[in-house]
């Protein structure tokens, strides 16, 4: 069953297109991958050796998507996955994917989601650069935290704050975990969303930027970093976090 509806929490039209391609998978696959501590004397394999051999031998290597990485418990990031990456993605036991690109999701990818019970949250953010020549008084509210583009030293890139905020809520909801965040190349839009996650985790800004730059490399944008710097996480502070930096889970 294919259900397409607006996210209730969205504040504007088309901010998030949520597509359920199949009923949500019943077992929390990610949690199952965390084994209880093994017996103290010997670490033993949980499956017969024959199965292990079949799993790990042969030429069928995994191809993670471009710029793939683990962000934190139950949260992954990457560039746009294609069919070559599907067998790898299956090993993550994903419950949902957050796509930050506005283009219609490719049919092949939709089929993959359908057959694996993965829910798609699509937040369309344009990936191209453009120069906004409007004076600051005419800029819409999502851009209010920026100085007018005409005084910026590089083309203004519109990372819409409200959309990132809605995407963040999806990321923070552990019912969606394990979740993969992706855009086209896993650099700018994904980098900004992950940067906001890091701010919620109380990372200092230089560490947030260091991580952003590791993925964006030569394509790093000052405007993206300015977006992350200005992003206010105070309204999200009451969201529960299962992150490794959330002290409450260490007590």
């Amino acid at each position: 069953m294919k259900v397409e509806h607006q996210n209730e929490a969205a504040t504007g039209p088309q901010m998030c297109r949520t597509i359920e391609v199949a009923p949500p998978p019943p077992p929390p696959a990610f949690a199952h991958r965390h084994l209880p501590p093994p017996p103290p004397e010997k670490v033993v394999a949980a499956v017969p050796a024959a199965v292990e051999d079949r799993d790990r031998e042969g030429d069928d290597l995994f191809i993670p998507p471009l710029n793939f990485a683990m962000v934190d418990n139950g949260i992954f990031r990457s560039g746009f996955p294609d069919s070559a990456n599907f067998s790898f993605l299956q090993t993550l036991g994903l419950r949902s994917i957050i796509c930050l690109c506005p283009e219609p999701y490719p049919e092949t990818n939709m089929e993959f989601l359908k057959s694996n019970g993965i829910r798609l949250f699509q937040f369309g953010i344009e990936g191209y650069k453009y120069i906004d020549l409007l004076p600051s008084a005419q800029m819409d509210s999502s851009c209010s935290s920026y100085a007018p583009a005409c005084v910026l030293p590089e083309p203004f890139v519109n990372i819409p704050e409200d959309t990132i905020r809605e995407a963040l809520k999806v990321v923070l909801d552990v019912r969606n975990h394990p979740v993969l965040i992706h855009c086209k190349r896993g650099k700018h839009r994904t980098g900004c969303l992950v940067g906001c996650i890091r701010k919620l985790q109380r990372w200092c800004l230089s560490s947030v930027f260091d991580e952003y730059q590791r993925f964006a490399a030569a394509k790093a944008r000052v405007s993206d970093q300015r977006f992350m710097e200005l992003f206010d996480v105070s309204s999200l502070k009451h969201q529960p976090m299962s992150f490794s930096c959330s002290k409450k889970y260490n007590n």
Copy 2:
């Protein structure tokens, strides 16, 4: 109690110096951070709001160590942590640290380990480059997979295969998780060890190199990549893995 002894599995002297600075912490802190799925209708905070405020407000931001990242469930990587990073490291609930540097571990860091019940596994691998001018016949067995340095296009960097193999065993033992792997800058020695983990996870070599280069950046070494390419994981294939790429935990 400070106990210093040779790792039983080590095949040579000083391959691994294991230092227990305190009794192992009883609770598996990392596992506790994974919340059970919240009630279906509403995600609720697990701690009182007042505690949340105290945790997340104020100026006390976390400073992750240089090149910090999550490798997989229960496995982190970074450059050498210093006292500025300790409050961040505490949030990870580490059980152990794998240090790949040969120098004596700094006293401040030892105190941190002691007060947090973290076990240190030290595998001393030299970090500097040197040109090995010995003919191939005189190279020791750990270098047997390399061509003689004199024909390599760059200085030969000695990543000792046996030491990496012993370090891998520590990484794969979930009793040591959560574990932080670090060297000096988190680029070469750490990058090689993580690359071997990725091979165990059956990542294709181009993805292994892509990740290595993301951290090493301009300092990437062909010899490190050659080491990872030649590293044979077949003898480790019967080790249990709690990785996200281990299919057995998704069934």
